[in-house]
C-alpha cells in the first residue's frame, strides 16, 4: 500500500517557548475566572477572550511580522492550538480567522487585503466566518449558485449562504461565489472573495440551533460590491484554493479535542481508583487520543514544509471526529449522571453533568462541520486509489 505521510515530527524550540507562553496566558485567564472550562470549547464565542489572546501573541503566529505576525512555524501554532483546546478556552471568535482566513489572505490576497486585515486578525480584533454552503449545496460545493457579476473595479454579488457560523458577530466572510460556468469537471467558474459585513448589500438572518442558541445564520447578498482587491487568487480559481487548503481546516487538534474538558471531568469524577470498566474504557480513549496527537502534529509538519496533505488531513478528521463522538458516550456509560441543562450548581457532579449536556448536544456536529464523515471517507478512498 502506498503509505500515508505521518512522519515523526519533532517540535522546534520556538514551539516549546510558545507552549510556555500560552500556558501562562491560560493560567491568568483561569485565575481571573473569565470562562468555565466545563461549559466552554473552541466553539464558544468570546470576543474579549480573543482580544486578550491576540494581545498575548497567540493569534496569527505564522504570519510575517510585517503583517503583525511572528513568523513562527506551523508547529508552534499547533502547540498553541492544542493547549487552548485542552484548556477548553472559548476561541470561536478568532478561530476561523486564525485557522484558515489569515493563511488564505496571506497566500492569495491583494497587498491591500493583507495590510488592512492581517494585523487586526493577529491582534484578536478581527474575526471571520466561512461562506461556503448554500441552501441547495451542502457538501456539494460545485453546486454553488451565488453569483458575482463583473462591474467597474470589482464584482457585484447576489445570492445567499447558509450555516454561516457567527455571521452576526464577525467582521468578514470569505465566500465562494460563481463567476463563470462550471465546465466539464464541475469545478470551474468559482472564485473566493472577502466580504466585509459592515458594508451595504448584505443581510444576516439568524438560525437558532436546537439548544436554542444563535450560532448559525443565513447571509443574503444583493448586489454586494466586492472590490477587485478583495478577491482571493485569480478569477475562477476558487475551487483549487478551497481544496488545496482544506488540510489546514481538517487536520488540526480541533478535530479531536473539542470535548477534551469532558474527558478531564470524567477522569476526576471517576477518581483515582477506577473500577474494571472505567479503567478499560478510559484507557481505550487515551490509546486513541495519543496517536491522534501525533498524526495531527505530523500534518502540521507537512504544512510547514509547504506540502498539501489532503488525504492525511481527511484521515485526521475522520479518525479524530469519530473519537470526539465517542467521548460523551463513554462518559455517560461510566458515570450514572443524567445530563442536565445549565444546572448552575458547581460541585463536581454538576460540573460533570453540565459538561456532558453541552457535549451530547454538540457532538453530532463533529462529523458534519468542516466536511462530513462521508466526504472524508470519499477523500480517503480516492487516496487509496479506489475512485
Amino acid at each position: 500500500m502506498q503509505g500515508f505521510r505521518f512522519n515523526p515530527t519533532a517540535l522546534p524550540p520556538e514551539a516549546e517557548a510558545a507552549r510556555t507562553r500560552v500556558r501562562r496566558f491560560l493560567a491568568g485567564e483561569l485565575e481571573a475566572g473569565t470562562y468555565a472550562p466545563h461549559r466552554s470549547s473552541w466553539t464558544t464565542f468570546d470576543a474579549g477572550f480573543s482580544r486578550r489572546a491576540g494581545a498575548a501573541g497567540l493569534i496569527g503566529m505564522t504570519l510575517p511580522t510585517r503583517y503583525g505576525g511572528q513568523e513562527q512555524s506551523d508547529l508552534a501554532r499547533f502547540v498553541v492550538t492544542a493547549e487552548l483546546l485542552a484548556a477548553g478556552a472559548p476561541c470561536f471568535a478568532h478561530w476561523v480567522a486564525d485557522r484558515q482566513s489569515a493563511p488564505q489572505i496571506l497566500r492569495h490576497g491583494s497587498e491591500r487585503a493583507r495590510r488592512e486585515i492581517l494585523p487586526p486578525i493577529a491582534r484578536g480584533e478581527c474575526f471571520f466566518g466561512i461562506g461556503m454552503s448554500e441552501p441547495d449545496a451542502g457538501s456539494d460545493l460545485a453546486a454553488v449558485r451565488t453569483r458575482a457579476v463583473r462591474t467597474d473595479g470589482g464584482w457585484l454579488v447576489t445570492g445567499s449562504k447558509i450555516w454561516t457560523s457567527n455571521a452576526h458577530r464577525v467582521h468578514y466572510l470569505i465566500a465562494l461565489v460563481r463567476t463563470g460556468d462550471a465546465g466539464e469537471n464541475r469545478h470551474g467558474g468559482l472564485t473566493q472573495v472577502i466580504v466585509d459585513l459592515s458594508k451595504p448589500g448584505v443581510t444576516v438572518r439568524p438560525i437558532l440551533n436546537m439548544a436554542g442558541h444563535h450560532e448559525f445564520n443565513e447571509v443574503f447578498f444583493s448586489d454586494y460590491l466586492v472590490p477587485d482587491d478583495m478577491v482571493l487568487g485569480a478569477e475562477g480559481q476558487g475551487w483549487e484554493i478551497v481544496t488545496s487548503e482544506l488540510a489546514f481546516e481538517r487536520s488540526g487538534p480541533d478535530r479531536f479535542l473539542s470535548d477534551y474538558p469532558l474527558l478531564v471531568e470524567l477522569i476526576d469524577r471517576v477518581g483515582p481508583t477506577p473500577d474494571a470498566r472505567q479503567a478499560v474504557e478510559i484507557g481505550r480513549l487515551i490509546a486513541h487520543l495519543a496517536p491522534l496527537m501525533r498524526m495531527s502534529r505530523s500534518v502540521a509538519g507537512l504544512l510547514h514544509q509547504g506540502q498539501s496533505p489532503e488525504v492525511e488531513a481527511a484521515l485526521v478528521k475522520d479518525v479524530g471526529t469519530a473519537f470526539e463522538r465517542e467521548v460523551p458516550e463513554v462518559a455517560r456509560r461510566l458515570v450514572p449522571v443524567e445530563a442536565e441543562m445549565d444546572s448552575g450548581d458547581d460541585d463536581a457532579a454538576d460540573r460533570f453533568a453540565d459538561a456532558l449536556a453541552h457535549t451530547v448536544l454538540d457532538a453530532p456536529a463533529y462529523t458534519l462541520r468542516g466536511g462530513t464523515r462521508e466526504v472524508m471517507r470519499g477523500v480517503i478512498a480516492r487516496g487509496l486509489g479506489l475512485r
Binding site: 438560525i207 436546537m210 455517560r332 442536565e340 451530547v360 448536544l361 453530532p364
Partner: protein, 361 residues
C-alpha cells in the same frame, strides 16, 4: 377497541401538538389545550380500572398510547400520570384531576417517612422528578422508619422545588423535603409494582416512549433522504446513506421487539396489579427493554443527524424534538449500563446453562 383508542390518540396529538405548542413547551409554557384534550379523552386514566372510575385499558394498550404520544413528542407527563394514577387508585386512593408525576426516580435518592400524630412526616432530597412543579400532584415513594415502603400523594404546589430541565427541555425538578407533614390518608402502603421504588416502572415507560421517538426520528430521516439532493442526486440514492438508514432500521426493529417483549410480559402479569413474584420476574424483560431501546436511541439519533446534516441542528426543523428526547430518556430511570449490569449479574449468578430457558420461552 385498541385500534380505535390509538387512532383517537393519534388524531388528538396531530391536532394539538403543533409546532407552536412544542416551541412554547421548550420555554416552560404548559400546553393547556393539549392536556385538556388528553384528559377529556380519558387517556390519563388508562391504567385506572373502570370500577375505580378509570378507562381500564389493557396494560399493553396503554403502553401503545404512550408510544404514540412519544412519536408525537407531546410535551406532557402523560406516561407519568397514567402510572401514578394507576398506582394510587390501586392503593384505594382517589385520583385527583390534573397531571401527576412520581419520584424518586433513581436509586441514590430516598425519602424517609416518620409516623406523626394524624399522619406522616417526610424527609429527603430528590433530584430530577419528571415535570416536578409543573405536575399537579406527586406520588412519592417513601420508606417508613420501620422499613415499610409507602406511597404518598402530595400536591406539588405545597413542595419546595428547584427548577431543572433535561436535554429536551422537559422539567426535571429537584425536590427538597425537610419535615413535610402529610395527612394519614395521603399515605398508603406501596403496591408490589413499586415496593422498591419507581425505577422499573419508569424504565418500562421510557422504553416505550423511546420506541415512539425512534420511529419518528426515522420518519424524519427517510423523508429528508428522499427530498434532499446532493451532488445531483437525492440523498436516498447514496449507498452510504442507504446502509446507514438500514442499520438504524435494524436498531429500531430490535428496540421495538425488546419493548414489545416487556410490554407483553408486563401485561400478561397484570400490569400495575402484578404481584410480588411477577414483579420479580419482570425485572429481566424490563431491563432488556430499557437497555436495548437506550442503546438504539444513541445510535439512531447519531445516524439521523448525520443524514440531516446542518439542517437537523436547527430549531426550525422538528427533528430535535425527537432526538433530544432520545438523549434524555435513555439516561432516565437508569441508563443502559445500569440495566445491562442488572442483566449481567442476574445471568452470571444463575450460570450459563440456566440462560437458555429465559430466552427460549
Amino acid at each position: 377497541m385498541s385500534a380505535i383508542v390509538l387512532e383517537q390518540a393519534d388524531r388528538l396529538f396531530h391536532e394539538h401538538v403543533t409546532p407552536a405548542v412544542q416551541a412554547d413547551a421548550d420555554r416552560s409554557v404548559w400546553p393547556t389545550d393539549l392536556w385538556r384534550a388528553v384528559e377529556e379523552a380519558g387517556l390519563t386514566l388508562a391504567l385506572v380500572p373502570e370500577h375505580a372510575g378509570g378507562f381500564g385499558l389493557p396494560p399493553d394498550d396503554a403502553l401503545r398510547v404512550i408510544r404514540r404520544s412519544a412519536w408525537a413528542a407531546a410535551p406532557i407527563p402523560l406516561a407519568e400520570t397514567m402510572v401514578a394514577a394507576g398506582l394510587w387508585s390501586l392503593t384505594g386512593g382517589d385520583v385527583p384531576e390534573g397531571s401527576l408525576t412520581l419520584g424518586p426516580v433513581n436509586q441514590a435518592d430516598a425519602i424517609t417517612a416518620e409516623r406523626r400524630a394524624g399522619g406522616w412526616r417526610l424527609d429527603g432530597r430528590v433530584r430530577r422528578i419528571p415535570w416536578g412543579s409543573a405536575a399537579g400532584n406527586v406520588l412519592l415513594h417513601a420508606v417508613s422508619t420501620d422499613g415499610e415502603p409507602l406511597v404518598a400523594l402530595v400536591p406539588s404546589d405545597t413542595l419546595d422545588w428547584a427548577s431543572r430541565r433535561n436535554l429536551a427541555d422537559e422539567p426535571r425538578d429537584r425536590l427538597s423535603l425537610s419535615g413535610l407533614d402529610v395527612r394519614w390518608d395521603a399515605v398508603h402502603p406501596a403496591p408490589a409494582a413499586c415496593r422498591d421504588g419507581f425505577l422499573p416502572l419508569g424504565a418500562l415507560i421510557r422504553s416505550q416512549q423511546m420506541v415512539g421517538a425512534l420511529e419518528r426520528a426515522l420518519d424524519h430521516a427517510l423523508l429528508h433522504a428522499g427530498e434532499r439532493r446532493q451532488f445531483g442526486r437525492s440523498l436516498s440514492k447514496f449507498q452510504a446513506v442507504q446502509h446507514m438508514l438500514a442499520e438504524a432500521a435494524g436498531h429500531f426493529a430490535a428496540a421495538t421487539a425488546a419493548a414489545d417483549l416487556a410490554a407483553a410480559e408486563w401485561s400478561a402479569a397484570g400490569g400495575l396489579e402484578a404481584g410480588a413474584e411477577a414483579v420479580a420476574e419482570l425485572a429481566f424483560p424490563i431491563a432488556v427493554a430499557k437497555a436495548r431501546t437506550g442503546e438504539a436511541a444513541g445510535i439512531v439519533a447519531a445516524i439521523v443527524h448525520q443524514v440531516h446534516g446542518a439542517m437537523g441542528f436547527t430549531q426550525e426543523h422538528p427533528l430535535h424534538y425527537s432526538t433530544r428526547r432520545l438523549w434524555s430518556w435513555r439516561d432516565e430511570f437508569g441508563g443502559e449500563s445500569h440495566w445491562q449490569a442488572e442483566i449481567g449479574r442476574l445471568v452470571c449468578s444463575r450460570g450459563g446453562a440456566a440462560l437458555w430457558e429465559r430466552l427460549a420461552t
